[in-house]
Symmetry: C2
Subunit: 344 residues, 2 copies
């Protein structure tokens, strides 16, 4: 909600316009041919907040639309210290070895504040980044979470048009980021570690109920048996919760990203999920409703932003809000007053 009250910050101006604004048909051809530099340029357009780049990027996206959608979209989140980047590196490399192509994206709300991003650290996922079958893109930075959301979603479509058949969307457990990522993926995975309950108390509300799979990482060495126990505890809790996906019982597995064990079983579980939900129609139904919900949330953001950025509303809102909290006018009266100001 708060995001709607902030305006997207203008992007820095590009210095080398000619390089970015290359003819759209060339760029389309390059993306479709899997040229990584062209894909990166296309993403840069999508991420730009300048109107010229924006329109160019949207035109590109529209023309590439027929080639999108042919991947399995996997969201990955985890408690701090669960080893998300090691997991993604091991998992991604294993998928590449099997002949898949993997794009790794991120939604990082903290990037909206710091301008940095969870994948921004160059030393992370170094091996995967160098793998010819993989494409690793850091979270777009700057702007509001709604902007990061749009950019990641559109980048995902570009990666699909470039032929990547598995998209991994990483997120950190901050704010609404898991809900946003759950809203753009087919399968959602929660990475946890063992800790006998106490560490789990800090787990975000409702996050287990977003997951199609919970993976207890670091199931190796002395920790092997404890991880198995944690897995059983999660399985027990899951019994009391509604599953995230119709017709699919949320699973709990263990793995060691460090030792590369349990990775194959995770992929088999995702493949089974894909088969079951595609057969039942749940897969396609979710994608359609995700597109609809996304459109509606973009509209909400824009319409509310238009309202709260209105100069008259902007100048009168703080006083009106205070008066409602103080009780000197009712909320209903305040809303009437604001709407009358807005319509003028």
């Amino acid at each position: 909600m708060a995001d709607a009250f902030n305006q997207e910050k203008p992007a820095r101006k590009f210095r080398k316009k000619s390089k970015v604004l290359q003819p759209i048909d060339d760029l389309i051809e390059g993306v479709r041919a899997g040229n990584r530099r062209d894909l990166a340029r296309a993403i840069t357009l999508i991420e730009s907040n300048s109107p010229e780049h924006f329109n160019h990027g949207q035109e590109l996206l529209k023309k590439l639309a027929p080639h999108t959608g042919n991947s399995i979209r996997i969201g990955i989140t985890g408690v701090p210290g669960a080893g998300k980047s090691t997991f993604i590196e091991t998992f991604g490399e294993s998928l590449c070895e099997q002949g898949h192509t993997v794009a790794v994206l991120a939604v990082d709300p903290s990037s909206t504040v710091t301008g940095g991003s969870i994948l921004g650290d160059k030393t992370r996922m170094e091996n995967l980044s160098r793998n010819p079958g993989a494409f690793v893109r850091p979270s777009p930075s700057g702007g509001v979470l709604g902007g990061v959301h749009r950019k990641t979603r559109e980048t995902m479509l570009l990666c699909e048009a470039a032929g990547y058949d598995i998209i991994l969307v990483e997120t950190v457990g901050v704010g609404q980021s898991e809900v946003i990522v759950r809203g753009m993926v087919d399968f959602f995975m929660l990475l946890v570690i063992t800790g006998a309950g106490d560490e789990l108390q800090g787990m975000k509300k409702g996050i287990m109920e977003l997951a199609d799979l919970i993976v207890v990482n670091k199931a190796d060495g002395d920790n092997f048996h404890a991880a198995q126990k944690t897995r059983r505890e999660y399985k027990g809790i899951l019994h009391f919760l509604q599953p995230a996906t119709k017709g699919w019982e949320t699973q709990a597995l263990t793995c060691s990203a460090l030792r590369s064990t349990g990775i194959e079983e995770i992929w088999n579980t995702i493949s089974l999920f894909e088969k079951i939900t595609k057969d039942s129609g749940v897969f396609d139904e979710r994608r359609r409703s995700q597109t609809k919900e996304w459109l509606h949330s973009m509209i909400s953001d824009r319409v509310l932003n238009h309202f709260f950025q209105d100069p008259v509303i902007k100048s009168s809102f703080p006083d009106i809000e205070s008066s409602v909290i103080a009780g000197s006018q009712t909320a209903s009266q305040a809303v009437e007053k604001l709407m009358n100001l807005y319509k003028k």
Copy 2:
């Protein structure tokens, strides 16, 4: 979200205007004196969708504002068959016996569809209704959930101005109703029954994490020990979830509304909660942020309604939405187009 896309239906015209639109000062005096007929009339004004009644009602509410807020607001929800109305009757009567005055309200989203309401059935809470210390009001019917929300919240304020020191807000587990009720109460209680886990699977996502107290009802006769076991199971799950209120560990108790056992312990728990959260400042902080959030959600509803009821938007939206789902334009392009139409 969907609520914002529907307009509030106009209310039936009142036939006996003179009776409802009595002088506002008389009505204020009557409400303040605890005259139940005047309180009912004031609520009728609040619930009316006619502009004349609405303005009158809001003026009343504004003048009564200094006398509101002096109650403990308790939300109660429960799985179907948990015995909510028997519980509220037993609990309410016990509170009245102790010298409290109790107002029972309801948020029933189904009333927006059927025009009926959970408390509409006259035979329900018959004893409590007749108790001079209690005031039972059915859920407002008709209109969208946002309307039911506003009316219940404003009715709560009127009941406080009339001197009721305990407000019970009942809700059924449909749609967003628990989240709405959680957003208007100080303390939220989930009523459940025993069922060895299997019945709990159908429990709504995240509902346990809204609760400050889970009560296992029907802890009587042959069911006594099973209820204790269920209570322990819930306590075990709660250990893994984030508590709903800062500085308060969500409790799990048992009771029998039928045999009137365990009722006192529930009230003691609520009193302890009130003391702890008032001392820590969490109580007042929650009320302030609830008022703010309510204002913001009312604004969102109105602003989005203004957008979607715009004749041009209304006629062009379905085609634009379909084209986005079909991929013939991007979501971003669709939003731009709609905003341009709207601004004209």
